[in-house]
Symmetry: C2
Subunit: 240 residues, 2 copies
Amino acid sequence: MSAQPEALIFDVFGTIVDWRSGIAAACKEAFERKQIDHDPHRFADLWRDEYQPAMERIRSGGRGYVALDILHRENLDRVLDKTGLAPRFNAAERDTLNHAWEQLPPWADSVAALQILKQRFIIAPCSNGSIALMTRLAKFGGLPWDAILGAEIARDYKPRAQVYLASCAALGLEPSRVMMVAAHNDDLEAAAAAGLRTGFFPRAQEYGAAQKTDLEPSQDWDLVSSDMTGFASTLLNAPV
Amino acid sequence: MSAQPEALIFDVFGTIVDWRSGIAAACKEAFERKQIDHDPHRFADLWRDEYQPAMERIRSGGRGYVALDILHRENLDRVLDKTGLAPRFNAAERDTLNHAWEQLPPWADSVAALQILKQRFIIAPCSNGSIALMTRLAKFGGLPWDAILGAEIARDYKPRAQVYLASCAALGLEPSRVMMVAAHNDDLEAAAAAGLRTGFFPRAQEYGAAQKTDLEPSQDWDLVSSDMTGFASTLLNAPV
């Protein structure tokens, strides 16, 4: 890798925070309160399954930009319908459950690694989450971002090139001066196609013990590490 | 004041950072290197004098949104012309001098007060500075913002209502849940008209020892303190 990037922009759901455990924990609590017998991890997976289709309706141009908070809330309605749990949750209870997306635990190494990287680089999320969602998530988990970039800046959703490019432009940087960091190969494929640098480390437990995807880099990304701590120290010790 | 706000958004130039001392210091260094005999504080004032007219060309609709970094650079050209110093600075030297806006010293109490306020509130700049400028200024001075809001989110300039409203909307909050904090009464007048709460403390040295404006609140703002430290402790100790 030649001269170092000036900024690192990060995928968040899965790369920085453990969305599945966080959503499952919130569902478990809600289900227990209502004496509902339903596997909370299964519910979390079903909720997340609605994520890509909901964004695709926007990416395809069929619908204008709507913040992810609202898509999550709509998706919750769908999953409650599909699981037959709809009669058990009124609107206020659904709103409350939807706020679980603002309170997801960072992976154990995320905060320390971000603090290290922040010493030398501008660090910001480039997530499909809204500014409101990313701001509250950062406050909940202590994520020390320098700015909040991503989908809302671009008013479109990853992997559309505009999301990466608008995030670089908001920092006044050419894409070649920015590294997209993600535990998801498809995110990096899109960022690389838009001219950004790429950094990868796996999050092998994102989908639980049986995960089969994104365990390895699919390409020769600019920087690959086996975990985020190693990623941060490699980048910080690389020649400027 | 009734229930507390959830977020505080801040004016930055003058309220959080001492732009005049910072710009004058950068000019002094540049002038000394070139053996130019010109009062650097006078030059800083002239540069800032171009600020409102440049934004007004955008606010009036005569020009589309252009980031403040570019306006500052154009304004520098104007001031160099007016002072007869234009022949002494080539384009690269002007670019370098323009970066002084990214390296302005916070007032002595700003960082500690923001750290206190960050414990309870979402804190973000609502400045006319761009995301790139605000991000670098925060990194330079250690300003612990939770997000970067303001003009670029709205693609317009204060005191247009849209800048305050877009900043609230980006946090998913009604204006009544957000307090605009500034050492400038006109900023608060515009924010109050847009439905936000208002907080004021003076920065009596912003324009130097002879300053005559904004030494006192012009109205009964929601919270008024004599300094930022007092402002922070009053707000933090107010009933929730």
